[in-house]
């Protein structure tokens, strides 16, 4: 070691930025890093490309030869033969004529065609009603429309006297009035009143009142029976009702399962485990076959309504489990802080616990919604005309006998759009709410 090494160094000139060596940029580099980095990856890439080619070769010509103008499968096949779109298995081309001809039916079922405007308007109103719930930028006042929407929708779709709907809605006003009016007597009394008074009203006051009003002022629109409901309209009715009803019920059962009251906990656990333990289809059969045994002799109410109840109960059990997971993920300190500030159980739940638990469980909740919407197809087994039921009905018609893929693709695509948008929205929501934290 010599002392004479000069350790001082001062840079006098800054280096300019330089471009990397050419072999490391652009498409070549990308391909090498993402597709051919290693033997295994190269094999996978080649296999994937082969698979894509095989799929395109199998489906491509079939799609390319699509025929939109035909009134029957045989006519379509004639056109295809004439155009030379034939392979060894016969004609090779998609016959979209069935969609062109039958799409109103796939959307609305056997709803009277001159009344198609009613479900259409209801659907548009649905988009408006859910907008403020989905997007915070929509004015909050639209929420009042959202609250009124269920009644509007029922009136528009089922038709009949307007008083049935209005007097039914009155029950909720009575409940709300009881909640605020009895607030002075304590939360428990007010809640009990808010539950009991509307139920009593619906059991005993509703029908006479609406009948009376209808007799005085017979205002209404043409009624449509639910046996005419069908197609995606039916799927959306069942799915949306199930979604809207199962969330609050799910919260209640999740809280029930967490309760330290033995009876409440047992009831919740038995309900949740029973519903989760049996296939939805058995519940639907219960709705269609067994409900007549359990209700007073002579009662017979709408099959669609029964299905909605069963689907809701089914989704409720799953929802409860999802929300319970969210509750379990909350630190104990949150409960303690709420207690220490003097918030009572329901206020603590509403203001502190639920907002956080629900946020944690968003992915699970939306997955339950998606599952519920997909499960609406099961109603075909009890004879309701959902899109899949209609597909069979269309095939039963001699003109379209033997048509499968076009119908499946159309139905699948519509379901896919709904479910995929829901899952994307949930991701968006998670990101949006995440800004709350660091």
């Amino acid at each position: 070691m010599s002392d004479s090494i000069d350790l001082t160094y001062v840079r006098t000139e800054m280096l300019p930025e330089q471009t990397p060596p050419t072999n490391a940029i652009g498409a070549v580099r990308w391909v090498r890093e993402n597709l051919f980095n290693g033997i295994l990856n190269s094999i996978l890439t080649i296999l994937s490309i082969l698979a894509v080619i095989w799929i395109v070769m199998a489906i491509g010509p079939w799609l390319m030869n699509s025929i939109w103008n035909s009134d029957s499968l045989s006519q379509c096949r004639e056109i295809l033969t004439a155009a030379g779109s034939v392979n060894h298995e016969g004609t090779h081309g998609a016959c979209w004529g069935v969609i062109k001809e039958r799409w109103p039916q796939l959307l609305f079922g056997f709803y009277p065609s001159e009344l198609y405007w009613r479900p259409t308007v209801t659907f548009v109103m649905m988009c408006i009603a859910i907008a403020p719930i989905l997007f915070p930028s929509v004015p909050r006042k639209v929420l009042w429309f959202s609250a009124a929407y269920p009644f509007l929708a029922v009136f528009m779709l089922w038709g009949g006297s307007i008083w049935v709907t209005i007097t039914a809605a009155l029950g909720f006003f009575l409940g709300f009035a009881a909640l605020t009016g009895l607030a002075g007597f304590g939360t428990l009394v007010a809640t009990t009143g808010a539950i009991l008074i509307p139920i009593l009203y619906w059991l005993f006051g509703w029908t006479p009142l609406s009948d009376g009003l209808t007799n005085i002022m017979p205002w209404g629109i043409e009624p449509v029976t639910t046996s005419d409901f069908g197609g995606f309209m039916l799927s959306i009715i069942i799915g949306l009702s199930g979604i809207v009803l199962s969330l609050p019920l799910g919260i209640l059962f999740a809280l029930g399962r967490q309760s330290n009251m033995v009876l409440i906990k047992t009831v919740s656990v038995v309900f949740i485990e029973f519903i989760r333990g049996v296939p939805l289809i058995t519940l639907l059969f219960t709705a269609s076959l067994l409900l007549n045994y359990f209700l007073p002799p002579g009662t017979n109410f709408d099959l669609v309504l029964r299905v909605i109840i069963m689907v809701t109960l089914f989704a409720t059990a799953y929802m409860a489990e999802v929300i319970r997971g969210g509750l379990a993920a909350l630190p104990r300190g949150q409960y303690e802080a709420a207690d220490a500030l003097g918030l009572d159980y329901w206020k603590a739940q509403r203001l502190i616990i639920m907002p956080q638990a629900l946020k944690i469980s968003i992915p699970g909740i939306v997955n339950t919604f998606i599952g519920l919407f997909k499960d609406t197809t099961l109603v075909v087994f009890i004879g309701l005309m959902d899109p899949i039921g209609l597909a069979s009905a269309i095939r039963a018609n001699s003109a379209w006998q033997g048509i499968y893929w076009e119908l499946f693709i159309f139905i699948g695509a519509v379901f896919w759009i709904f479910c995929f948008s829901m899952s994307r929205y949930s991701m968006h929501l998670e990101r949006r709410l995440k800004t709350d934290h660091k």
Binding site: E33, N34, L35, N37, N41, L44, T45, S48, I49, A51, V52, H88, G186, L188, V189, N260, M261, V262, L263, I264, V267, E273, F274, R276, G277, V278, P279, L280, I281, T282, F285, T286, L289, L290, N292, Y293, F294, L295, P296, P297, I370, K374, D375, T377, L378, V380, F381, I388, G402, Y404, W405, F408, I411, G412, F415, W416, C419, F420, S423
Partner: protein, 417 residues
């Protein structure tokens, strides 16, 4: 202890039922119990009245009547003169067969797709994303119908295999025939069969039983071998090489047994207008199996991906910093943690798949729902009893699966603390 500290003894007031934590929960529970009893009484009363009005009683004796219908897929002996109970058991067996087949395939496909979706290979990851998003977002029933239609419409009829100008041919060295009636695969035959034992209710084949016993014994022996290796490692620090011993213990006894029984395969062959010989997997089974497998696999793939991603990179860095090789890091650090995240949702997917087997009716698969919950109910008019029994059976199946999950959860939970 010191209760006599002059605490003002309050007399009981009615409002204490609601505002005293000692009584409040009892008040609420008694109220709920009252409502529940009322509701239950109302339901039972209605049911009794309705049954009386229909002139029916409540009895399960119909189960012992002759069923009078055929079931195409019969894993155990069954004819149309068998009882409804036996039909239900055939259905249940079919449900279980489908569920087991589906779970195995869905797991393999799902793990593969989940791992590949995390691949750095752009095209593979994209393809897997497309697969997962497509299958997850379209109803299972539609997929079952699609696979049903593929089997029924796109597959050749047995007669297409005939003659010199056959348009279809058998696959896999002429051993498998895929037709629109189902898939015919080679079946096992034994020259020196042990026969079967008649238990009255079912008559299982002794060959199969012997095979199962030998496999279980081999697995047990292998486990002892591995335990011994671990013991040696713990004592000396050096793990003896066991892989070839493991292979020998696992496979040689089974192969010896098969040789002793004179095992050979029976290949399906075209006789007349149909295939015979081997095992026929009916179109309905294939459609259900494929439909449920690829549908559930898409969900499993997402669980697997989430499980792997849940393990922070810190864990592999920590293991690497301790000088562990990648293989050991995976086996000893990453996998045990990832499994803890993956297994619970995996088992609930099994549960879903098992429940979805009840969609069998869509393609005519004769599962529990189609036998007991379908034809039997229609023929006997015993909706109430039939549905209750069916729900009970499904419930027991589900509870068995979820108790397996609970056992697993408790085991990993114990390890955690």
């Amino acid at each position: 202890m010191a209760m006599d500290s002059g605490a003002p003894k309050e007399s009981f007031r009615l409002s204490m039922l609601l505002y005293d934590s000692r009584y409040r929960s009892y008040t609420i529970q008694i109220f709920v119990l009252f409502c529940l009893m009322l509701g239950a009484a109302w339901l039972v009363d209605n049911t009794i009245k309705n049954l009386a009005a229909l002139g029916k009683d409540f009895s399960f004796s119909f189960l012992w009547n002759v069923s009078g219908y055929d079931i195409s897929q019969r894993p155990i002996e069954y004819t149309s003169t068998s009882t409804h109970a036996r039909a239900a058991i055939v259905g249940l067996t079919n449900t279980i067969i489908l569920a087991v087949m589906g779970c195995v395939t869905a797991t393999v496909l799902g793990v593969l797709a989940g791992v590949l979706r995390l691949s750095t290979n752009w095209i593979v990851a994209r393809l897997m994303t497309i697969y997962i998003e497509t299958f997850r977002n379209i109803p299972a029933l539609l997929w079952i119908l699609v696979f049903g239609a593929v089997m029924a419409e796109a597959m050749p009829a047995p007669r297409d295999f005939r003659g010199a100008d056959a348009t279809a041919s058998m696959s896999l060295f002429d051993s498998v025939a895929i037709t629109n009636r189902g898939v015919y695969v080679p079946g096992p035959l034994f020259d020196r069969s042990l026969g079967s034992v008649d238990l009255g209710f079912i008559s299982p084949s002794l060959d199969a039983l012997a095979f199962i016993v030998v496999v279980i014994l081999s697995i047990w022996a292998n486990k002892r071998l591995v335990n011994h290796a671990t013991a040696v490692q713990n004592a000396t620090g050096i793990r003896p090489v066991t892989w070839w011993k493991s292979i020998l213990t696992l496979f040689v006894p089974a192969i010896l047994l098969l040789l002793a029984l004179g095992f050979h395969l029976e290949y399906p062959a075209l006789r007349g207008f149909n295939f015979s010989g081997g095992i026929q997997l009916r179109s309905s089974l294939i459609a259900m199996w494929l439909g449920l497998s690829v549908y559930t696999a898409a969900f499993i793939a997402e669980n697997v991906r989430a499980g792997i991603m849940a393990i922070s990179t810190g864990q592999s860095e920590a293991a690497a910093a301790l000088g562990m090789q990648p293989g050991k890091t995976m086996r000893l650090v990453i996998l045990p943690q990832a499994m803890r995240v993956i297994i619970p949702p995996l088992i609930s997917q099994y549960l879903n798949l098992t429940k979805n087997t009840s969609l069998g009716l869509a393609v005519g698969y004769m599962d529990l729902r189609s036998t007991l919950g379908g034809i039997t109910i229609n023929q006997t008019g015993r909706e109430l009893e039939g549905m209750m029994l069916m729900m009970l059976i499904y419930l027991v199946l589900s509870l068995l699966i979820s108790s397996a999950m609970n056992v697993y959860n408790n085991r990993v939970k114990l390890k955690e603390r």
